[in-house]
């Protein structure tokens, strides 16, 4: 009997040990699944960022080529008594072309000459023009001047094009490669920080394209968004948290706000198109309309976070203020809001960051157009940074791929800044 029970006991123990072993293995496996999931998230993030940074970094440098520019009156098409207006409208591209021909006399056929001119950016003539306007004494002289390279030549100089590809499969021709190699040997090429990218608007030439216009557009759009969404959002939050009676209307408003937060942003674009553009006849492509639409999108975020911040204010502050005879409004404005402000600002900044990255609704209201000039106000046609990214991503020229990634890096930089500010505010808030 005893023996049997011992045996059965032994059996049970081994069974338990075996099952325990299995159960622990399962436990370890389960933990590993968890680690794997977290790791997968990290890998995705890493690939995404690495892909964009590796594609975008070359865009921050630009190659220049030193050309002996002959400011020949005849080529410029002006005589010695030229007025400043004539100087401003002189043919600087002809001067660049003839200078290039002098440097490389071996370009003989029409096609070869064309390839030769394609070494230098189209924008070079405008920088020459500005130089001559500043210093008319340059006319008639020959100077060594660093001119920006064409984007195709630039991408060869950045080692993005392999010489081993057959000529028909690359944009840059063999003869151009020969000239460029000569220039490199003579020390006539130089890589500099790409200032153009930050100081000019959109362009059809990748080497001349910049994000300044889009940045200004984003600024004006966000300004309108902030001016509308912040006061309305905070006031709505104050009302719902402090004043609203519990009734069906208040419930309706609350349900509404929660649902609005989850409506796809493109639907807001449809609203903007139907109401602001078609009904109120506000101008297309304007930051004003973009700002209003984005304000409506961010409003729920601001209301929800502001309510949370106001709700988190300790009731003792309320009671103290009420106790010394302050009215409800005075209590809120003088005591509750100042304490809740960091929290409200955090939420608003996060809402603004969301608005900064928004693209789809802006496509609906005509902010996708070729716009080169920097907008000067909220009604000027303009584009915003994410839409500029969308436009460039669609461009076939190779040079735009790196511009797109670089613009993404700038956009992400702003987002990181805004979020860092929000985190900073929250930290300070928590200390209090």
């Amino acid at each position: 009997m005893n023996n049997m029970s011992k045996q059965s006991h032994y059996k049970t123990t081994t069974a338990i040990q075996a099952s325990l072993k299995k159960r622990y293995a399962t436990e370890r496996r389960f933990q590993w699944y968890g680690r794997l999931a977290v790791l997968t998230g990290f890998i995705f993030l890493f690939i995404l960022l690495a892909d964009i940074v590796s594609k975008g970094t070359p865009a921050f440098t630009q190659h220049f080529i030193k050309v002996d520019v002959i400011f020949d009156r005849e080529k410029l098409g002006i005589d010695s008594s030229a007025t400043p207006t004539e100087i401003a409208h002189a043919d600087y591209s002809a001067a660049i072309k003839s200078s290039l021909r002098t440097m490389f006399p071996d370009a003989s056929t029409r096609g070869e000459k064309k390839s030769l001119y394609r070494l230098i950016s189209v924008g070079a003539q405008y920088s020459l023009r500005d130089m001559v306007i500043d210093n008319p004494a340059l006319i008639g002289t020959t100077r060594e001047i660093w001119l920006p390279a064409h984007s195709e030549a630039g991408s060869y100089l950045k080692n993005q094009v392999s010489k081993d590809l057959p000529e028909s499969e690359r944009k840059i021709k063999d003869i151009q490669i020969k000239w460029l190699d000569t220039l490199v040997e003579e020390g006539r090429t130089e890589s500099r920080f790409n200032r153009t990218f930050f100081t000019s608007g959109d362009s059809r030439e990748p080497e001349m394209a910049g994000i300044k216009a889009a940045l200004y557009g984003s600024f004006y759009t966000l300004l309108v968004t902030f001016l509308l969404a912040f006061p309305i959002g905070v006031m709505a939050a104050v009302y719902l948290e402090e004043f609203a009676p519990r009734n069906r209307l208040t419930d309706l408003i609350e349900i509404n706000i929660n649902n609005l937060a989850a409506v796809p942003s493109i639907v807001f674009g449809l609203l903007g198109l139907a109401v602001f553009i078609n009904f109120f006849e506000l101008p297309r492509s304007a930051p004003l309309v973009g700002g209003i639409v984005l304000a409506l999108i961010t409003l729920p975020t601001i209301i929800i976070t502001s309510r949370a911040a106001i709700g988190a204010v300790s009731p003792s502050i309320h009671q103290a203020a009420m106790g010394v005879g302050a009215s409800k409004l005075q209590t809120v404005v003088h005591h509750v809001l100042p304490v809740a402000m960091p929290g409200i600002l955090t939420g608003s900044i996060i809402g603004m960051a969301q608005a900064l990255g928004e693209t789809a609704p802006l496509l609906m209201i005509g902010m996708v157009a070729f716009i080169m000039d920097v907008p000067g106000g909220v009604t000027d046609p303009s584009t915003v940074l994410p839409v500029q990214i969308f436009l460039w991503a669609d461009s076939p020229e190779r040079g735009f791929t790196e511009k797109t990634s670089a613009a993404i890096m700038v956009l992400m930089g702003f987002l990181v800044l805004m979020n860092a500010l929000a985190v900073f505010l929250r930290k300070r808030f928590e200390l209090k």
Binding site: Y24, E27, F30, Q31, Y33, G34, R35, L36, A37, V38, G41, F42, F44, L45, L48, I52, K55, M235, A236, Y239, L240, A244, I253, N256, I257, N259, L260, A262, V263, P264, S265, I266, V267, L270, L271, L273, V275, L296, L299, P300, I303, S327, K328, L329, G357, E358, T359, A360, L363, M364, V387, I389, F390, A393, S405, I408, L411, M412, L415, N419
Partner: protein
Amino acid sequence: MQTTTIFLTLLALCVLSFFMGRNRSRVVAMRLGGGLASLHSLPQHYGYMAAMWAAIPALFLLVLWSGFESTILYKLVVAQLPQSIQDMPTSELGLYYNQLQGFAQGGFGGTEGDPAQVAASEHYRVLASSSSQLKAAMVLIVAVLGGLLAVRRVTPLLRARNHVEKIFEWILFGSSLVAVLTTLGIILSILFEAIRFFKVIPLQDFLFGLQWSPQMAIRADQVAASGSFGFLPLLVGTLLISTVALLIAVPVGLMSAIYLSEYASRRFRAVTKPVLEILAGVPTVVYGFFAALTVAPFIRELGESVGLSVASESAMAAGLVMGIMIIPFVMSLSDDIINAVPDSLREASLGMGATMSETIRKVVMPAALPGIVGGILLAASRAIGETMIVVMAAGLSAKLTINPLEAVTTITVQIVSLLVGDQEFDNPKTLAAFALGLVLFFVTLLLNVVALYVVRKYREQYE
């Protein structure tokens, strides 16, 4: 006088009233000899009251006037026109009026109108200019009167503070109504255009049609696609991409949440969670670029290397990237839900000798299931409404397929491609975008309402 100028003057009047009201209260108090203590409210409350009296009625009048000005002018001018012209159909009359307005503003492409029109345009010009002058005068008079009235009413017994606060409360209430107005605006504007669409295309053809080919002729003498508006291929395409996205996001997001809330140390969690949440902050246009230029070619090459034919804009690529985007979304939601499961359940299970993973799978998960389902519904609504990723990385042709390696199109892609560029609000093609918008709005709304309900019920269970 221009509206801006009126505004600036109004603002100045408002400030002026504030100071007048404040001064007046002090003067009144001094006259009584009781000092400021004899006032019911603080002097600035009287100032605010005066400013509000100056601003609010005048502002109201201005908005009302600006809103109805054109309609009233139209009615007045048209009433003066000869009967024969008044009998024209509304659209032609509108055109005629438009031309007449053009004359009044100086020239209309060099064309000459008939004498009645020229006379009417003169009439219009006079009316319009007097209306705008009258508007400025009236608004400013109302402002001055309002301000003065308020200032005159200042007495020590006047409950200025209560007065001001009541108005403020109304303004606060008005702000909270903006959200309701937005929803109303969305529903009305979309519904209005969608109804016009359904007048041309029957509802059942739209909901159950198997073919989507919306590019119909935009001129009478053009032959184009016959224009079929069957919505099913779009729905299937949308669901296909969203399913791929959820198949990526749910396991990764859920397992991460479980690991971070049940196993990970505080420090690991404090570092990992914000880093993964970066994925949620990346703008969707960036994901779109990533999907179109990096992921899609990669999947295509991968497929070809094992002998599969993969479309260049496969649902797989868009879905995968969308999945990455919603990982943090699923993660935070599940994290909240798992944390809401009372520890007593865990402790009971662990006390019985269950391992951690058994506790999670057999106790925590079943308890959290409704909440997690709610979270997944929210994630699905997010995926269905996502636009930029699919615009940049999904296809345009509406194919009825459930093979993720083929190119499909989605509701949002079609809205964008129908509306960007050519817009003419009498064409079913443009209106179709609004019908799609309506469907999108209701589908996401439904998912949200259900999800929020489920989550709330779940929370209540443990509170």
